[in-house]
């Protein structure tokens, strides 16, 4: 690792960026982050200041540093640009932007130009040496802490404009770090120290409610995410591993929720029969799995896209049935007033104090969900690493070839379907208690699409992908309330763009990344455009 003299352009750019970040950005008071004050890096200016530390890339000769430095420069410019828009919107016109913002913009531009002129240099190393255990564990712990820190930090930001700046900041830092090969290295590290990584990740998840200082809002949101995440992992078994697109998956979730609600002793339940909650969870999962088998048996003999439509139809049938079967589901009103869980004298709705932090009632559900997520992860990973998982991959890649090599494709597809439904059903029973009511309009086609999107955006076939995807899809709308009306529009566009530019998702499975990135050779059966159209396809009557 050589150190060099930094180019003058970079020095000037960094100086301007730092000076700009410490200077006022607004000519009027009231913009979030005390932007009219000088000598104080409040609001989005802090992100620019932090990005300025990326200037060390001009001194250290790291692999992939050119692209990383470019990401830093463009990122800083993007943060300033976001705030330009916000300032002009707030204060009215370009006059409301103070000189500090202009200086920062100039600095970011200079940094970008300096990065552009860097030599392409060596690419980031692919192989990383095995380091002492303590160092590796420390690295894993640092990564987990950084993630937790970023989440907690982001959630504390209340203003929309500042949160968008934060998102831009995180996105560009991630790109920069990615180009330095850090994520690749962490992936290897996490795989090598899997147990410790799991324990630390779990610990971070448990620690999350304690970071909220008794504030219930985000714990409540995360209690919703937890249920969703279990369902997303279940859907990932179906979509990610077995390659079966299920567009009515939320119906299984709904089946579980209705089972949970009906057996909950709620005043409005139509079934007066109460069993311990643990059994209810399993029962909800089993009922959903039975539904999965019923819907899967006739359709899994067919090609995948028929399945997508039939599952969609099934989802609609479920919703309409729940809407019309007054005797069991109470129709459109649904079942409300579902009581909190209680086990051995412990009321899940009450808040508790632990280590001097008050944990609101939702934290209890959050912890229950963590257990459920852990179970779902166990099921997912053990299946994925087993003979069954390999058979699923074979089916996903080429069903005919899989059948020819002795795989009982229908049985295995049914199994994937039933396991996915089971996990959704379990999640649904918990959800009934978290939301305290179930009604048919909670289980629409759009919810199914949200689940599919969580899996696809996060990365098909990986657990972190499903978790990340469901967290993003829940937290972003909560945070970006000023965009709420355009949420679905952006979401549709995001689906198109992700499929176009990063079809493997944010956290891709290695296998899927390879298969999506390398073009299939011509003439391979099973790909559209390859030779051999199916009989029945000619456009003729």
């Amino acid at each position: 690792m050589n150190t060099r003299k930094p180019p003058a352009l970079a020095v000037a750019g960094t100086a301007a960026l730092v000076a700009g970040s410490l200077s006022p950005w607004a000519t009027f008071a009231g913009y979030p982050g005390k932007m009219s004050l000088g000598g104080f890096p409040g609001g989005a200016r802090l992100f620019c200041l932090l990005l300025a530390t990326g200037a060390v890339l001009f001194v250290l000769d790291l692999g992939g540093r050119r692209r990383a430095a470019l990401a830093v420069g463009i990122g800083a410019a993007a943060v300033v640009a976001v705030n330009f828009a916000g300032l002009m919107d707030h204060g009215g016109g370009i006059g409301s932007v103070a000189w500090g913002a202009w200086l920062s913009l100039a600095g970011a531009g200079l940094l970008t130009a300096a990065a552009w002129r860097l030599p392409a240099g060596t690419p980031a190393p692919k192989e990383w040496p095995v380091l002492p255990v303590a160092v590796e564990v420390a690295a894993v712990a640092a990564a987990v802490l950084a993630l937790l820190g970023a989440v907690v930090w982001g959630l504390r930001i209340n203003e929309s404009s500042r949160f968008v700046s934060f998102l831009v900041f995180v996105a560009f830092v991630s790109v920069a770090v990615h180009h330095l090969g850090v994520f690749e290295a962490l992936g290897v590290l996490f795989a090598r120290r899997q147990r410790i990584a799991l324990v630390l990740g779990g610990a971070a998840a448990v620690a999350f409610p304690f970071t909220q200082q008794g504030n219930a809002y985000w714990i409540r949101v995360f209690a919703s995410i937890g249920v969703f995440a279990v369902a997303a992992i279940g859907l990932n078994v179906v979509v990610g591993l077995a390659g079966l697109l299920d567009l009515g998956y939320v119906a299984f979730f709904g089946v579980g929720a209705y089972v949970g609600a009906l057996l909950s002793n709620a005043a409005l339940t139509t079934v007066h029969f109460h069993v311990p909650f643990l059994f209810v969870v399993l029962l909800g999962g089993c009922v959903a799995a039975v539904f999965g088998l019923v819907i899967g048996t006739p359709t899994l003999r067919l090609r995948g896209d028929y399945l997508a439509i039939v599952t969609l139809g099934f989802g609609e049938i479920f919703r309409i049935t729940a809407n019309n079967w007054d005797g069991l589901t109470r129709g459109p009103n649904g079942i409300s007033g579902i009581p909190d869980l209680a086990a051995a004298g412990f009321d899940f709705g009450e808040s508790h104090a632990l280590f001097g932090v008050t944990l609101p009632g939702f934290a209890n559900y959050y912890f229950v969900e963590l257990v459920l997520i852990a179970g779902a992860i166990l099921v997912f990973t053990r299946l994925n690493d087993s003979r069954i998982g390999r058979a699923w991959v074979a089916i996903r890649e080429d069903e005919v070839a899989a059948a020819a090599s002795g795989i009982d494709t229908i049985r295995l597809k049914l199994m994937a379907f039933a396991i996915g439904a089971f996990l959704a059903g379990c999640a649904g029973t918990v959800n009934a208690h978290v939301t305290t009511q179930v009604s048919p309009d909670s289980y629409t086609f759009l919810e199914s699409i949200l689940l599919v999107a969580a899996v696809v955006l996060g990365g098909m076939g990986t657990v972190p992908g499903a978790l990340l995807g469901s967290t993003m899809l829940f937290v972003l709308p909560e945070k970006l309330r000023s965009f709420q009306d355009k949420r679905l529009l952006l979401f549709g566009a995001a689906l198109i763009l992700v499929m176009r530019f990063r079809p493997e998702g944010l956290v891709p499975s290695k296998r899927r990344r390879r298969e999506l990135r390398e073009r299939a050779p011509e003439g391979v059966p099973g790909l559209p455009g390859a030779s051999g159209a199916p009989p029945g396809s000619p456009v003729a009557g």
């Binding site: 139809g313 309409i320 390859a530």
Partner: protein, 305 residues
């Protein structure tokens, strides 16, 4: 008996719309094996295109003349729908031609949501129901005790004419021949000099034009449209295409009429039929796939993944 005949007529009119939309699904599927999930939205956008022409471009003096207004509305609808379909094919589907088949399907869902939301957010008053002009008199006539609105006659006549026209086009023209060749074997079609990309675009254009006409029909029959009409109509039309045998033009027409009639009769004769109105299509779909997965006129469905 009279009630039965009445529902038969209602079902036929309903089926004409389903059939027209189903043709778009079936042609696209026949050529690139893609369930164009956004096709229902093309239908919806077409209806809005027609509405736009009537509301903003047609001078009042001409709007009352059905011989001017109706063609103008139809042309506007077709132009908008075709434009959307071509852009959609170019930007969303063509880059994914060689991707695993899950990818274009998810893209199609994205396109569908995007189009719905675009209309809802950016069309003036798009969040509410929009009144659709009634260009044909709302009068009816009686045949043997069955009431038939004039609009229905228009719908069925135009739909059948278009269906026959499409069949003739595919059977006799050079482009039609190229379409059939491409659907049988795109690789060989390329080898004998067929511009496969062009054929695919033509397929999307034809499907979009038919869907746009269906959109105008829907607007005229129900006197109102909104951004949501594409979803259910698209699903039912897809069911119709599968019912008739996907990839098969005659099948789509037959499936459309059959599904429309089944829906009308079930709504009438099944207890509480109207609250289950939207279920029948799916019941039929699942039933067909269990009993005869290739559809009524289709051949055996390949097990190609």
């Amino acid at each position: 008996m009279r009630q039965f005949l009445q529902q038969l007529v209602n079902g036929t009119v309903l089926g004409a719309t389903y059939g027209l939309i189903a043709l778009g699904y079936t042609m696209v599927y026949g050529i690139i094996q893609l369930i164009n999930f956004a096709h229902g939205e093309v239908f919806m956008v077409g209806a809005f295109g027609g509405l736009t022409v009537y509301r903003y471009w047609l001078p009042d003096s001409l709007a009352s003349n059905v011989w001017v207004a109706l063609p103008a509305v139809l042309i506007g609808a077709i132009a908008v729908a075709v434009g959307v379909a071509v852009v959609m094919e170019r930007l969303a589907y063509r880059p994914l031609r060689n991707a695993p088949r899950l990818a274009p399907l998810i893209t199609a869902i994205g396109v569908s949501i995007f189009l719905q939301e675009a209309v809802r957010l950016f069309y003036p008053g798009g969040k509410r129901q929009q009144a659709f002009p009634q260009m044909i008199s709302s009068g009816t006539f009686d045949v043997g005790g069955v009431t038939v609105p004039w609009v229905s006659v228009f719908v069925v006549v135009v739909a059948v004419a278009l269906m026959v026209g499409l069949q003739v086009f595919v059977k006799t023209t050079k482009t039609g021949k190229a379409m059939r060749a491409t659907s049988q074997d795109p690789e060989s079609a390329k080898l004998i000099g067929i511009d496969v990309d062009r054929v695919i675009v033509v397929t999307f254009v034809l499907g979009a034009a038919l869907a746009a006409v269906a959109g105008v029909m829907q607007g005229m029959r129900f006197a109102q449209i909104d951004f949501r009409i594409g979803f259910l109509a698209g699903l039912k039309a897809f069911t119709a295409a599968v019912l008739g045998g996907i990839g098969n033009i005659k099948g789509a027409v037959l499936g459309g009429f059959l599904l429309g009639i089944v829906e009308a009769l079930a709504t009438q004769y099944v207890p509480h039929g109207s609250s289950w109105k939207d279920v029948w299509a799916f019941v039929v779909l699942i039933g067909v796939l269990v009993v005869r997965p290739g559809g009524l006129l289709g051949e055996r469905v390949a097990t190609r993944a």
